[in-house]
Amino acid sequence: MEGFETTIVGDKGYIKVTGDMDNEKAGEALRNAFNQVYDQGKRTIVLDLSDVQIINSYGIGKVLTCYKRLKAENGVLMVTPLQGFVKETFELLMLDKLLPTDKS
């Protein structure tokens, strides 16, 4: 099952997203990585989108699906500091208010 790379640091699960978040393959990879971390009991999950150049509403939808799955269990979805196009898009859609930044 292919997915993005994940790491566990204490209570947090990190997902390193690579490539563009705008197609089904990326959506699947995110879902698999999320499941991997979630199944290990982590409810604070951080998405590292620093290598992502393009994100569209499809990719954002997938991110928000992760947000909802965590929220249902009082968990938190966070992002590492955003930059470029992804940052602009998040701000445009006010997602920066919804997903806190993990500064560690």
Binding site: R31, N35, I54, T65, M94
Partner: protein, 279 residues
């Protein structure tokens, strides 16, 4: 294209010839079909699409072509012949299997770069099946041209493309495939959502996958417009807006489009969308 671009189609065989001609009927290109260059003596064309076959006499034949810009369909050429073709100044070439759509995209790109004609206006219309569009990333040679001629920045182009891609995705998914946004919240134990599952199934169902989408790209007097017509049953915005809350995994497409474009216009009961931007 509404600049009076004339295209010669020389020596192209069936069934590909029919594909080229039928696609041209849906664009503004003016095609003249001939079986060889001799038939077109005395005429000049902006571009020629030529089927080039290997053999001794192909070089003089290519030189006879009444156009400075040649797009070659290379059939059974040896490596050396391919090199000769390129040295003759062919702007681009394609080997079999040929794709009419690819030829048109290459033509548009080439014609837009014609220095003798300034781009005052551009109009192109293509029809695609749902299946074709779902597996392709939509870009427009017009936008590439606008970036390379410094009319817009790469950043600007990316944002416009994003808005157009959102519009296409909506027409495809909600229009032709009749998928409902709320299905994205219907997850199974592995986090797989109903929307994705039904989408996959419908893309393999000819009743959905064969439905058409028509895309028109227009640029005139500094205004860019992009129109999509889908074969869905339409919708009214008033029905959809209440569903869109920040945290739901849908509703972003329309927001993005409105943020980037100057005008977002739904017509014909929601089956036709026009995005406009003044550049």
């Amino acid at each position: 294209m509404s600049n009076g671009f004339s295209i010669a189609v020389i020596g192209v065989e069936e069934p590909f010839l029919r594909e080229l001609v039928s696609l041209s009927a849906r664009t503004d290109l003016d095609l003249t079909v001939a079986s060889d260059a001799e038939e077109l003596v005395g005429r000049k064309f902006d571009l020629a699409i030529v089927e080039v076959k290997g053999g001794d006499d192909f070089i003089p034949k290519v030189k006879q072509i009444p156009s400075d810009a040649i797009f070659g369909l290379a059939k059974d050429l040896s490596y050396q012949e391919t090199i000769s073709l390129l040295e003759l100044g062919v702007v681009d070439y394609m080997t079999q299997p040929y794709s009419a759509l690819t030829v048109y995209e290459a033509l548009e790109r080439e014609l837009l770069q014609d220095e003798n004609k300034q781009l005052m206006s551009y109009n192109s219309q293509h029809s695609y099946s749902t299946r074709e569009i779902s597996s392709a990333v939509f870009t427009s040679p017009l936008l590439e041209y606008l970036v390379s001629s410094d009319v817009i920045s790469l950043d600007y182009k990316q944002k416009i493309e994003l808005a157009w891609q959102e519009a296409l995705a909506n027409a495809l998914e909600h229009g032709n495939l009749e998928l409902e946004s709320v299905w994205k919240n219907d997850l199974d134990i592995d986090g797989k959502d109903r929307f994705t599952k039904i989408k996959k199934a419908r893309l393999n169902d000819p009743r959905y996958a064969d439905k058409k989408l028509t895309v028109t790209v227009n640029y005139k007097n500094g205004e860019l417009s992009f129109t999509i017509k889908d074969s869905g049953s339409g919708f009214t915005l008033a029905e959809k807006i209440p569903l869109y809350k920040t945290e739901e995994p849908y509703g972003r497409g329309i927001k993005l489009m409105n943020a980037v474009m100057d005008e977002v216009l739904y017509e014909n009961g929601g089956t036709q969308l026009t995005l406009k931007k003044r550049i």
